[in-house]
Symmetry: C2
């Protein structure tokens, strides 16, 4: 039996005997009785086990180490103490797996830096147990949102031979022994001898492939790991992360904003409903005001402004920005912060200068901006980025030429505009950014089980 199922209907179990298996989070005792904080990981809250001198092995139990795995039998009773409504009166405890006293996770405050070093043990702490449960529940919220709205979950390939996004951002993959590379006559690596018969990479996005399936299923989403080689040692960058990339046919920029807004509200509500204890914990110990922030997201209507309007707003602001906001330019973190604080909630910024955006975004009639949209949220900055896609074959090919992207490898992509093309839009949501937003955790290394960042690939 899982502790979660016990807690769900704990009144029903009053006076009943149960058998549970799990771990000892703490063991405190006096001469006549003792308490074990017992947790099997399925539920945030620990169950209090009470044992007393009448047990023949009282002395053995009172010496059970923190971290040990045990099997416990006993009766669920109303608790006399504060802090819990019920507890378990022990009739029997069996030690399944001991834990030496040098066990790194002790019932005290550990720094997050220390816990990163023992990443394989940190989910046993309250904080990380909560973080990675929210991660799991948020993933399920995403699947349920899309599946219940007729989307197809599309598995885009990870390995690709099409160097379409610029290999600067992509990892190379090879089966070669790199100390013994086969070479061609002119001393270049002979990729013909590699597994795929050509040079292969890890893609940084599934979007282009996603579009091919949107043109068959109308609505698709990807949800999978993404790897990028960015050498950025910041709190918000990792070289391996998960991303969601929905793509919707017969959908314009307004439509994709509607979907982004509806989806985010759905996820936030779902997580708050399924993880109330965890959200309370984050609200109390990680980000004060988190619950209020999340509740506001659910009930408010997201503001929609153009990039031009955003720049005007920034220019009129009585603030000394480090970077001066300019029409036609990107906006900085400090600007995002000002805008979300100004509107006190999530803000869609649309119609960005074409030169700072990707080749596949739809050119607006002004010939200067594209139908792109970023969603900025208070505290976290950019949470999603999307656009309507260029569906005009000639304009797309022209833009690719201008930006030096060869069409040969992407014939299948440009052909989508020839074979029953239609107006369509999509966006990307960085899953870790979302988890940081939902939990208040500020470092991406603390929302990924085993983070990969520059010079860090442990475990």
């Amino acid at each position: 039996m899982d502790v979660k199922d016990l807690f769900k209907e704990i009144k029903k179990f009053e006076g009943k005997d149960v058998t549970l298996e799990g771990w000892v989070r703490n063991n405190r005792n006096q001469s006549n009785f003792g308490f074990i904080d017992f947790n099997d990981g399925t539920y945030f809250q620990s169950l209090q086990l009470v044992y007393d001198k009448e047990l023949s092995d009282f002395d053995t139990i009172s010496k059970i180490h923190i971290g040990s795995a045990i099997r416990v039998k006993g009766k669920i009773i109303k608790s006399q103490g504060s802090g819990q409504t019920h507890e378990l009166k022990v009739s029997f405890i069996e030690l399944l797996g001991d834990c030496p006293e040098d066990y790194p996770i002790q019932p005290k405050r550990h720094t997050r830096e220390f816990l990163r070093e023992v990443a394989y043990l940190r989910p046993r702490t309250n904080l990380f147990n909560a973080v990675f449960r929210v991660r799991s529940v948020a993933a399920q919220a995403i699947h349920e949102y899309f599946q219940s709205n007729n989307y197809i979950y599309f598995h885009s390939p990870i390995i690709t031979a099409a160097d379409c996004e610029g290999s600067g951002q992509m990892f190379n993959v090879t089966t070669f022994d790199m100390n013994n590379l086969p070479l061609t006559e002119d001393k270049k690596v002979d990729y013909k001898k590699d597994l795929f018969g050509k040079q292969a990479y890890i893609t940084g996005s599934g979007q282009l492939h996603g579009e091919t399936y949107a043109m068959a299923y109308k609505k698709i989403y990807t949800f999978g790991p993404t790897m990028r080689t960015e050498k950025s040692n910041t709190k918000t960058h990792a070289n391996e992360f998960w991303m969601i990339e929905p793509e919707v046919a017969f959908c314009d920029l307004e439509g994709i904003m509607d979907i982004e807004e509806e989806m985010l509200k759905y996820i936030v509500k779902y997580v708050m409903d399924k993880c109330p204890l965890e959200i309370d914990f984050f609200d109390k110990f990680v980000e004060k005001g988190l619950k209020e922030k999340l509740n506001k997201v659910i009930t408010s209507s997201f503001v929609r402004i153009t990039h031009k309007e955003a720049i005007t707003l920034l220019k009129e602001a009585k603030v000394d920005f480090e970077f001066t906001p300019e029409y036609g330019q990107d906006i900085a973190k400090e600007h995002e912060k000002y805008i979300t604080e100004y509107y006190n909630g999530p803000v869609f910024i649309t119609n960005w200068p074409k030169d700072i955006k990707a080749f596949y975004m739809k050119l607006n009639d002004d010939n200067e901006t594209v139908a792109a949209v970023d969603l900025e949220v208070p505290g976290s900055g950019e949470l999603m980025g999307g656009s309507q896609r260029e569906d005009d074959y000639d304009k797309l090919v022209k833009r690719m030429k201008e930006m030096g992207i060869p069409e040969d490898n992407l014939k299948w992509y440009t052909n989508l505009r020839r074979f029953g093309g239609c107006y369509h839009s999509g966006f990307g949501l960085g899953f870790e950014r979302l988890i940081m937003y939902l939990t208040g955790i500020e470092n991406i290394r603390d929302v990924i089980p085993y983070p990969r960042t520059p010079n860090n690939c442990d475990y």
Copy 2:
């Protein structure tokens, strides 16, 4: 509006006007009226559009090409013809995206080999539309099964520096320009200068990492892409595929078989409930008897025999096997086939010879076999492979030494046996194998959107 939502409650829409957007699968007409098979991809069945001479643009509509994207307005009426209960009487059609007559997907039978060459268009055919919808729905079945049973969805890392499974099966990843590798003084590749500061690989399994989280959450599952370098050009091997790897603490071999059986029945039932048209289609055109096979899985109780019993059964069989079955040896595809046909249903084979299984499997008391289990299913052979894990620290480390696996990189793994270790088990399910089993499709290249196999990495 999605065609799926229309079909779900089509009677409600009788006599009502609707507007839909989607693609023309076929356009047949005579002098006074015509029919369009209209499909927006959200539903397997096409909607029949009827248009007649009274429309001022009858001639234009009658020339709309197959594959074109259109917007249609009209009234839902009862159909006079056979083949459908309802159809849409067109009042207006707008062409959104034309499709030239050299469009490769025409309303005729294409070979699967041809469709692999236009992989980006094949989901627009009935067969592949059905396959990849089942793939999506089966994925959701898996998530719902585990989430509703208190499992945590765990994202295991893809990139690893621990060469723990033997790098022979793993891809190398690097950010280096491979034609210009930085070298150390002794002319070896200087991995210190690579992004992670050491040599990095793509893992072939998330299991070991999964165990670390099972020791915190009791029940976890992974579900993500896996890459292996196997140079096998068979119908059942791909170099990139998706895998599900559940791991459960406080669970023995019998327990993990119970879970495998319950999960498989859940998935089969879920897919049959959600995709009845698709399953009918596969039953009719891909694998005769598929429905009966799947129904039997749901209702039967899976047989459980030991490896020894299986060998005895094979030895007693009046069949000339190409490979002679032997105690202590692996079993061949022909043996799997015989066994599943003999029992006429799924069969668990347990307690395998230790020398043909992985280092982490629990040694049985006979010192010769391990607590491993393979699930064999009729038609597809091995569908899942699992085991109880060795939870005795000394035995595990001894076995690693015997098999030449250095403990240094895996301290975090062996330590799980020191820090509150417990009996635990897990298994792996190849997602593509499952989809092949559910659809009757015989080639793995036809159940992966963009398959990667030796010498094939197109798109």
